[in-house]
Amino acid sequence: WSAPLKSVFVTFPGDVIKNMTDNQLAEEYLKRYGYIDVLQKSGLQAVVSTSKALMKLQQQLGLEETGSLDQPTIDAMKQPRCGVPDIRN
């Protein structure tokens, strides 16, 4: 067996690469689907409300309500879904 080829990762032009960090992905997801107010304050308040928002998302999606950005939650955020917000502001 030849040693596995070292995969070369290429940047494809026009690829809508969502090379966001998991935190950026979470931030965008929670805003887009109504879990955190778009006009969210920054700083400590933000951290608390993000954790609350994650709890709400985990409850909506039937995940363990940890309030933290764990792997099941990140995987769920990458699932294809409907664009209508889950929570109407």
Partner: protein, 567 residues
């Protein structure tokens, strides 16, 4: 389940919808059918009915788009957000938008409906054998004209059944060219094009001219995606180019090399390293039917559900044999109530006693007292109040509308006359008939009611006789509609089927029934009136009609009472 704030819902049950444009991923009839089935999911458990309009403003306007598509909520490229819809109300409310950077299928890979060939529109069968080779996509092998084709059974070598795959060389969609195929090369802004292009557009849709010069003729259409077309990337819709070179290696099929997300991609030119043209390979795609059923739930007033197995759960999940979850049913019935009773069974016509065939002269003992034939028209006999007629047909060039013992006529200048008593003009007939037609050559008028029919020649009548005598199946309960087809032939309709009657032989032609939607695609298959008028076929369901021209294209949908009865 959840509803929108204030329990937004439609204030009527006959909801209308209109498909504004199509996706290049699937043939229009497949998209039409997916949307119709998605509406049926909801009409089966509520009093709601859904009628498709082809112009004007409908309650639910359906469209495909990419990225920024005309509302404040842009789509996000392939995967992620698939579609969205707005709760009931005016304007954009109630509309449904589908992200065309997705690959729309029936949920389990390419849904390729064939055209021409000898497969009568059947779907491609993948894989299929051709000259001993197995194919998992359309091919141009075996042809010199470059038009992709496929077998519609597993083994072409044995069955020899095939059809042509969607290709811009065969047809285009939308645009202004009535599906005419592309003309290559064509000139656009002085430049010559040998293939479809997205130039001149910002929505990324591929198009072509359907004459040699767009600049002078302005004739164009959109290019259907071939089944090997890539999705997304920077070459949406272009077919994969095999073999292709990537990082100096040659690839003869899709690969995930070079990517960290494992998605399969291919180059759309022979050398990725030099041209950098690529896209994602077709995968299972997303079921347009399932996503549409979900979005239409929003358009009817349902918000997202927390039940994982509910249709209104926000995440997409492919389900082979779908049925609504109890949570969805409770949600939609909270808004609109349950389906009212069984499917309405039309009133049984009051069967006449088997009256003598030809009205006999009354003998003195039978002397009948003449009854005044002027009838006092109750309000219910105002033609414009009637939602659904028993029969509509053209007799002596005037459109006749029959309903419970009465009929009305519309003269060629649009004047409405009536009501008249049926028994006054055709005394042998029952109070309610199902359909009628005037035979163009002999001017005989055939009337159908339940399992019987009558033939009037002037005042003379033959009948009633059983419709079985014409060769119709013994279990056929009625003839709903009739269309004269020239040369002494008449089509007789009943729901999903129709038969061709040879009037001279008084017998149904062999090879029938055929299915209505295989020949008259796009009209309701439960029309209660079908008739020919001024060269157009009319199919009526409830208060609407679908008009089909001689080329079998539905070119108009409208209201019977406004457009035909001139109310």
């Amino acid at each position: 389940y959840q509803t929108f704030e204030g329990d937004l819902k439609w204030d009527h049950t006959d909801v209308t919808y209109r498909i504004l444009n199509y996706s290049p991923d699937m043939e229009a009839p497949l998209i039409d059918d997916a949307f119709a089935r998605a509406f049926k999911v909801w009409s089966e458990v509520t009093p709601l009915t859904f009628t498709r309009l082809y112009d004007g403003t409908a309650d639910i306007m359906i469209s495909f788009g990419r990225e920024n598509h005309g509302d404040p909520y842009p789509f996000d490229g392939k995967d992620g957000l698939l579609a969205h819809a707005y709760p009931p109300g005016e304007g954009i409310q109630g509309d449904a938008h589908f992200d065309d950077d997705e690959y729309w299928t029936l949920g389990s890979g390419p849904a390729i409906q064939t055209r021409y060939g000898n497969a009568e529109g059947a779907m491609c069968h993948f894989p299929f054998l051709f000259e001993g080779t197995s194919y998992s996509s359309c091919t141009t092998d075996g042809r010199t004209d470059g038009i992709p084709w496929c077998a519609t059974t597993a083994d072409y070598d044995k069955d020899k059944i095939f059809g042509f795959c969607p290709s811009e060389l065969l047809f285009t969609f939308d645009g202004n060219s009535n599906e005419a195929p592309c003309v290559f090369p064509f000139v656009f802004l002085g430049v010559k094009y040998d293939s479809c292009t997205t130039d001149g557009r910002t929505d990324g849709y591929r198009w072509c001219a359907t004459t040699a010069n767009f600049d002078t003729d302005k004739k164009y259409g959109f290019c259907p995606n071939r089944d090997t077309a890539v999705i997304g990337g920077n070459s949406e819709g272009e077919p994969c180019q095999f073999p292709f070179i990537f990082l100096d290696k040659t690839y003869t099929s899709c690969t995930s090399e070079g990517r960290g997300d494992g998605k399969l991609w291919c180059a759309t030119t022979s050398n990725y390293d030099t041209d950098k043209k690529w896209g994602f390979c077709p995968d299972k795609g997303y079921s347009l039917f399932l996503v549409a059923a979900h979005e239409f739930g929003h358009a009817l007033g349902l918000d997202h559900s927390k039940i994982k197995d509910a249709l209104m759960y926000p995440m997409y999940k492919y389900i082979e044999d779908f049925s609504l979850n109890q949570d969805d049913i409770e949600g939609i019935q909270y808004l609109y109530g349950p389906k009212t009773g069984p499917n309405p069974t039309p009133p049984k016509p009051k069967t006449t006693t088997s009256s003598p065939v030809v009205p006999t002269k009354p003998t003195p003992s039978e002397k009948t007292t003449t009854v005044s034939t002027t009838t006092h028209v109750g309000p219910s006999q105002d033609a414009c109040e009637i939602k659904e007629f028993d029969a509509i047909t053209e007799i002596q060039k005037e459109l006749h509308f029959f309903k419970d013992r009465h009929y009305w006529k519309i003269s060629s200048n649009g004047e409405r006359k009536g009501p008249f008593l049926i028994s006054e003009k055709w005394p042998a007939l029952p109070a309610t008939i199902n359909s009628a037609f005037e035979e163009p050559l002999t001017k005989k008028i055939y009337f159908f009611a339940d399992k019987q029919f009558w033939v009037y020649t002037g005042k003379e009548v033959l009948g009633p006789r059983k419709i079985e005598k014409l060769g119709l199946p013994s279990d056929l309960d009625r003839v709903e509609g009739t269309v004269q087809r020239g040369k002494g032939k008449v089509l007789l309709f009943n729901g999903e089927n129709f038969w061709k009657l040879d009037v001279k032989a008084q017998m149904i032609d062999s090879g029938y029934p055929r299915s209505t939607d295989s020949v008259f695609g796009g009209v309701p298959i439960d029309s209660h009136d079908v008739f020919l008028h001024k060269g157009f076929f009319y199919f009526c369901r409830e208060s609407f009609y679908w008009r089909m021209n001689a080329k079998r294209q539905v070119d108009r949908v409208g209201y019977v009472r406004h457009d035909l009865l001139k109310c």
